[in-house]
């Protein structure tokens, strides 16, 4: 199996390049892309990539596999390999630190902007802040995000304006707290999203939806935010 790898070591390389590696895959097994990377690293330990839980929970090994972002650990080779070839590149649009490792600072900065925590200035009840099952249900499809950055780095609006457009991952989290019945900062949160860039650079092309390894729908969440802004403004 031919695997083409994006290689870049800023200490020795003047520019990134693609390296073709021939990997012998064990017969009769459908390996995950991460397993194949591990096989490559056994031969060449200079190959750099992030990984941790190897089961799609930690969100470390987001990368671009044959042109589509996803988590290497839960992407089977049978699903991604075309014409007997696999091309692995770092997540697009973010600065490359080395090989498949990208600098996620901008991504986290946008995440930070949406205040991804519960704000409630009322005195806490003795036991806990209760939610009705219906209110709790509103958070389904929002809280599951693992911040792997597959969606935001698949979004052209985020590529063009990563400093001003919050991006699908951040906006999904923004709505996760806007929709929380226990949060008391909705007005403040909306006021921070009202400019022409933060939310409105979304053109609804739904790349985020098509790549999300957890099957979430940031475009839908962005639509909900737009509706909240509309209600606030009219």
């Amino acid at each position: 199996m031919l695997v083409s790898l994006y290689r870049y070591n800023p200490e020795t390389d003047s520019a990134p390049y693609m390296q073709d590696v021939d990997v012998e895959l064990p017969a009769g097994k459908d390996l995950m892309v991460l397993d194949v990377l591990n096989l490559i690293k056994e031969k060449d330990e200079s190959m750099a990539y992030r990984r941790s839980c190897r089961e799609g929970v930690c969100g470390s090994d987001g990368m671009n596999m044959n042109g589509k972002n996803g988590l290497a650990c839960i992407t089977p080779m049978s699903q991604v390999v075309k014409n007997d070839k696999l091309v692995l590149r770092p997540l697009p649009g973010l600065p490359v630190i080395r090989d498949l490792v990208v600098d996620m600072s901008l991504f986290y900065k946008q995440y930070e902007k949406v205040m991804p925590y519960l704000v409630n200035d009322q005195p806490a009840p003795a036991m806990e802040r209760l939610q009705s099952p219906e209110d709790r249900e509103k958070l389904d499809g929002l809280y599951e995000c693992i911040l792997c950055a597959c969606c935001s780095t698949a979004c052209p609006s985020f590529w063009w304006n990563p400093d001003k457009f919050i991006g699908p991952a951040g906006l999904l989290q923004a709505y996760r707290f806007l929709a929380d019945s226990r949060d008391t900062a909705q007005a403040e949160r909306l006021a921070d999203l009202d400019d022409p860039f933060s939310v409105f650079r979304c053109r609804g092309i739904m790349n985020c939806v098509s790549v999300c390894p957890k099957g979430l729908n940031p475009t839908k969440a962005i639509g909900h935010i737009r509706n909240l802004l509309l209600h606030r403004a009219t």
């Binding site: 902007k113 063009w160 921070d192 400019d195 022409p196 933060s198 409105f200 737009r226 403004a233």
Partner: protein
Amino acid sequence: MGMNSVTNIGRNGIQDWIIQRVSAYVLAFYTVFLLGFFITTDVDYQSWSALFNQVWFKIFTLLALLSIGAHAWVGLWTVSTDYIKSAMQRFLFQAAFMLVIFVYVVWGIQIIWGL
């Protein structure tokens, strides 16, 4: 945290967004109406000038003209902020298309109302 610009047509993102959507509906209605007119009417100078002599159609046309101006403003402003990274070049581009839109709207008003 949110940043607003002074060269977009609305005061904020939601206003630009509403202007873009509403103007799109107006333009869609206008286009469908004109298509219907072309299909159902034998178009010659008589019928064309009769259509434009009605006040309601002049208003409808003016609304469509203002809509296309606003729609183009929002759209081109967005494109310019996406692709033109130099502030000076961006401002010149925006000033140029705003001037063109302004000229077209004024000229259009003159034509519609026969001033």
